[in-house]
Amino acid sequence: MNPVTNEIAIEARSLGLGYPGSMQPVLEGVDLSVAKGEFLTILGPSGCGKSTFLRAIADLLPPINGQLSVLGKTAAEARRQREVGFVFQEATLLPWRTVRENVCLPLQVGKGRIAKSVQPRADHWLELVGLADLSDRYPNQLSGGQRQRVSIARALQCEPDILLMDEPFGALDEITRDRLNDELLSIWRRTQATILFVTHSITEAIYLGGRVLVLAANPGRCQALIDLGSLKDENGACRRESPQAQEIAARLRQLLRDGGA
């Protein structure tokens, strides 16, 4: 298991989030600290503001009240310093670029821009997600799972301290999803990144997370924060079918039912 340090990666204090021009907040009163190196999964019914929370950390949405600090800075500063990577629900690959060129995009724009010979690094990340052989293909020649792997490699290209993932495997079949879950855990162990992972799947939330944050809807708010440490072995892995995992799954299902109304 990654050493969860005392250093704080993300800290929210009575954070309220909403869309500009709308009076109704999407998510309010969020108090949360995420330690560096932690893997936090976020579960909640539709409309509870799971994605909104990630978008605020990525500086895609300004907070309407409260405080949010990312690595001790504002979200905008952390973004500008390339410390936050984002994996969208859809892979969002540029169709006119090959796999390798897509993975190189972060090196061609913004602060991460570097002059030349970026190819070896792109290949390194593609190898990590198991796509080294497909680097010259175009996105439309890949399966959904492969595309999402490319988008993970692209997010890793900036070597972010924080990786935000917004239901990245939501559209994939269960077998592919299980395999990508294992790959993601191994990437997490190797990169030591802090990961916030939004999902609809209780199984996925338990399997991946060191802690699960459960949100409730109407209005969006934090409902529970459950530590999964007791389930995990020294590698941060757990068996999906173990009785303890089943028990926590039942509890999460109940929490989601209560928070959905």
Binding site: R79, R82, T92, P106, Q108, V109, G110, K111
Partner: protein, 254 residues
């Protein structure tokens, strides 16, 4: 419904045979039906006229090509620049895009006499008509292309802290290039049409002038030869744009 796939041999030979059959009907059946040669000359006599008068025809084609080319560049360049302004300034776009679209509904050919009235009888009015014909398709396609980046793609660029220029160059431009070339291919032929229409109304040089004069003089062979050359010019312009597009793609993917 099952789509029928012809064997390669038939797929190449049939279009040629089809065209030839129509030419044969034109060459021998029309005269046999009593259509006089000063109304519709036969294809062979048109070719003969083309061979004997090609010097004069090409001499008249030169100003037409020149006007079409200038109009092509002027119209497309203005359209691309205006599209960029529209995309980056929502206020300018809100104020002027509807006016431009409304303007587009005026048939440019009907506008031609007014343009001659404003710009006189020189080369300029022909260039302006050709440019106007190129302008609208490119403007509309470019605005569509430049705004076709998805929200996700724009957010990706934001998360990567891409500058405005980088987002333009790495996202909006590649998104609009296929649409730009589509409208450039249309412009390649319409610019020739614009130049010829301009010459109809006020010129003693150019393919348009040859077409009008030979019509009034019942020089049907020359008329048909001029039309043939005008059509060839459009095809050549079209082919050049296609060539440039291929070179561009090769450079872009290198």
């Amino acid at each position: 419904m099952k789509r029928q796939q012809l064997p390669l041999f038939e797929a190449t030979i049939l279009p040629v045979a089809g065209a030839l059959s129509l030419l044969v009907v034109w060459e021998w059946v029309l005269p046999a039906l009593g259509v006089p040669a000063y109304i519709v000359p036969t294809p062979l006599s048109v070719l003969r006229t083309f061979a004997s008068e090609w010097r004069g025809l090409v001499q008249n084609a030169l100003p037409t090509w020149y006007e079409a080319l200038l109009g092509f560049f002027l119209g497309n360049l203005t359209a691309v620049i205006l599209a960029i302004v529209f995309v980056y300034s929502p206020r300018v776009r809100a104020a002027y895009f509807p006016v431009v679209l409304l303007f587009n509904t005026i048939p440019v050919l009907a506008l031609a006499p007014i343009i001659i009235l404003v710009f006189g009888l020189g080369i300029l009015p022909k260039v302006v008509i050709a440019a106007l014909l190129c302008f609208f398709p490119t403007l509309i396609n470019m605005v569509r292309g430049l705004t076709s980046a998805t929200t996700n793609e724009l957010e990706l660029m934001h998360v990567l802290s891409a500058s405005g220029w980088e987002t333009f160059w790495r996202l909006r431009v590649p998104r609009s290039v296929p649409l730009l070339f589509a409208s450039l291919r249309i412009s390649a032929t319409t610019s020739v049409i614009g130049a010829i229409v301009g010459e109809w109304i006020g010129s003693d040089r150019g393919l348009g002038a040859v077409i009008i004069q030979s019509t009034f003089n019942y020089q049907a062979e020359r008329l048909f030869a001029a039309v043939l050359l005008a059509s060839l010019s459009g095809i050549i312009f079209f082919a050049i744009v296609g060539r440039v597009e291929r070179i561009f793609h090769r450079l872009a993917t290198a």
